[in-house]
Every structure is written in C-alpha cells, then in structure tokens.
C-alpha cells in the first residue's frame, strides 16, 4: 500500500498527461469539465487498483467517484 502523497502524485501525473492546457488542482471536476471521459476509465481504474493494491468493483461506480483527485482519494484511497 502506497502513501497518500505517492498516490496523489501518480494521479496528478496521469491527469496532467490527458489534460492538455487545462490547469488542474486536486479538486478540479475532471469528468464534469470533460478533462477525462469514460474512455479514460480502464487506464485510470487499473492505475488506482495498482496504487491501492486492491481491486475496484466496476459495477458500482458513479461519475462522482472520479470527479477530481480529492474525490478519487476519498473513494479509492484506502482498500474497502
């Protein structure tokens, strides 16, 4: 299990890679603003699983779960 700091940093790197010129903070609403879209989810989910060291139940996901790095940390930062 990685530290919260390390998980956040890797998520920021992932988001920056896809954000183009959009300035990003940890509370930027990534899906609402369409910085990320559904087509990014497989890569994002496997990254989150690797960082937290536990699977994510894909059938229970909501857009709000990914709508910002803070939201992702709250939902997936620690294995449930």
């Amino acid at each position: 299990m990685r530290s919260e700091t390390e998980i956040r940093e890797q998520l920021r790197t992932f988001v920056r890679r896809h954000a183009g010129d959009v300035a990003i903070t940890d509370d930027t609403a990534l899906f609402t603003l369409r910085v990320l879209r559904s087509v990014h989810l497989p890569e994002l989910i496997i990254l989150l699983e690797r960082l937290r060291g536990a699977p994510i139940d894909v059938e229970q996901l909501r857009m709000g779960d990914f709508d910002g790095i803070d939201a992702m940390m709250a939902r997936f930062g620690v294995p449930s």
Binding site: F31, R37, S38, V39, H40, L41, P42, E43, I45, I46, E49, R50, G53, P55, V58, E59, L61, R62, M63
Partner: protein
C-alpha cells in the same frame, strides 16, 4: 435523414448479401458443442503461447512449460471474458438502434448482428462458467451529451476496432494445432461470423464518416476518442486478475511490466496495423493512437 440512416442506405446491398449468408450459416449454440466435463489447464494449451500477454517478459521466461500452459488457460478465460463484455456493449448499442424511427427500413442485418453476438457470448460464457470464471471488465460509461450522429459513428467505429483486434486473435488461435480442440472451435466459430461483421463494419464506418461531414473540432474530438479507445481496448488484454488466478505474484505490477515490455508494444502495433491502416485510409484517423504502443 440522420447520418446513420444515410450510411445504412448506402451499404444496403452489402447488408442484404450478408443477411443471406447469415441465414445460410445459422447455428444453434446450445447443441453444437460437446462440452468436456473437465479440462486440464496444465496439460493442454488453451491459448497460443506467442499471444500470451506475458510473452517476451522476464516473468514468462521464468516459468516452466506447465506454468505457461496454466497462464495461457487463464488468459483464454480472460480473452473470452473481454469478448463477453465487449459483446454486451455491442448488443446494447444494436438493440438501441433496432427500429429507431429513422432506421426502420434498415434493420434486417442488425437483427443478424444482434443474434450472432448473443450466440458468441453463449460459447464464451459456456467456457468461463464451466472451467474458469468470467473476469470483470474495467470499461465503464457514464453517458454523454454528444449529438446522436457522433454517438452513432463512435459506436460503430469502436465496435470495428474491438472486433478487428479480437478477430486477429481468433484467426491465429483457430489455426493453431497445439491448442485444445475446444479452444480452436470457439475461436474458429467466432471468426467465421466476425468476418461478416467486419465487412459490414468497414463499409458502414466509411459511409458514416462521409455522411457525418463533421467540422474540424468535432472530427478532432472523435479522433481523440477513438485513439483512447484503442489504448483502453488493449489495456484489457493485460488483466491482473488473470495473472492472480494463474498463481503469479504482484499481478498489478506484472500487468504494468507486461504492458510496457518492448515485445508486447511491438505485438500490439502489429496486431492493430490492419485496422489502423483501414481507419487512416478512410480518413478517420490521421495519426497513431497515443500511448497504445
């Protein structure tokens, strides 16, 4: 008239011909397979070893022959599972377009398409539920507010990309004499019907792209979406749950290492090349998808 209605009208001769072939090749998936009561994953090959996602990695080199067969077996279940999930999305998309008001005159081949995709899932699900399990997908969709014409195009273009990659694996594995007869049958059966779907898909995607005639920003967003879909599709071939079922340690790290391995990047580029060449020639894509290779 919607772009899809225009495109379907343009490919109607092809669709009619494929419909006749589908009627002639109609199969009953419940009687065609004599399922063995059990299989031996460490004795028989269920997937072509050169197409196992760990091939060319240090982890693969460290495995003995028995362990490699075990990985290939679980990866076959992973491959069939990603087909099940891909076909679920396809069935949903086809059903949503069946008898849509602007498409009422063009449903003939869509019925065959839908029917055949459902049958494929009977085979894939039959294998997974009898001998392994259905692995989960990481594809999820939260819906969009895109124009319907764009959604129609992306649906059929993504379907084509997914099926072209799958069909490459099917063709190779159907012909691979090292594989268990059941694995060869499932791959061969899928390939025979997918060959018709691919003919239809290529004709329709070309006509639909031309009928759409989108402005440059919309076309750029479509291209970006398709590029990401190529990457997302390939990501599913590197499944940590498959590695865990095969008894391998650190499955997420293994998936990451395999994804980045030079041999695997070259494999993905080679398998995708026909499909990408087609999409480029049709004017749909203008560059290689970012991050896929």
């Amino acid at each position: 008239m919607s772009a899809l209605a225009t495109a379907l009208a343009q490919v109607s001769e092809t669709a009619d011909r494929l419909s006749r072939l589908s009627v002639r090749a109609h199969q009953n998936p419940y009687t065609l397979v004599d399922w063995p009561s059990a299989v031996d994953p460490e004795r028989d090959w269920f997937g072509t070893p050169e197409y196992v996602s760990l091939n060319g990695t240090p982890a693969w080199a460290a495995l003995d022959d028995q362990a490699r067969r075990r990985v290939a077996f679980h990866e076959a279940a992973g491959f069939y599972s990603l087909n099940i999930h891909g076909e679920k999305a396809l069935i949903q998309g086809l059903a949503a377009r069946l008898y849509r008001s602007d498409l009422a005159g063009s449903t003939g081949y869509l019925h065959h398409f839908l029917d055949e995709e459902n049958k494929h899932s009977v085979y894939f699900g039959g294998f997974c539920t009898r001998y392994a399990r259905v692995h989960r997908s990481r594809q999820a969709s939260f819906g969009t507010d895109r124009p319907r014409d764009v959604d129609d195009f992306l649906f059929f273009a993504k379907t084509l990309i997914f099926e072209e990659i799958v069909d490459h694996y099917n063709r190779v594995q159907a012909r691979d004499g090292r594989l268990h007869p059941l694995a060869r049958f499932i791959n061969d059966s899928h390939h025979r019907e997918e060959a018709r779907h691919l003919v239809f898909g290529r004709r329709l995607v070309t006509a639909l792209w031309q009928a759409g005639d989108w402005d440059p920003p919309t076309a750029a967003e479509i291209r970006h979406d398709l590029g990401r879909f190529v990457t997302a599709t390939w990501r599913e071939y590197y499944h940590p749950d498959v590695y865990a079922d095969a008894g391998l340690d650190d499955p997420w790290e293994l998936a990451e290492a395999a994804w980045s391995a030079p041999g695997q990047r070259a494999h993905r580029r080679r398998v995708s090349s026909d499909c990408l060449r087609f999409l480029t020639a049709a004017g749909v894509l203008t560059e290689e998808p970012a991050d896929a290779f």
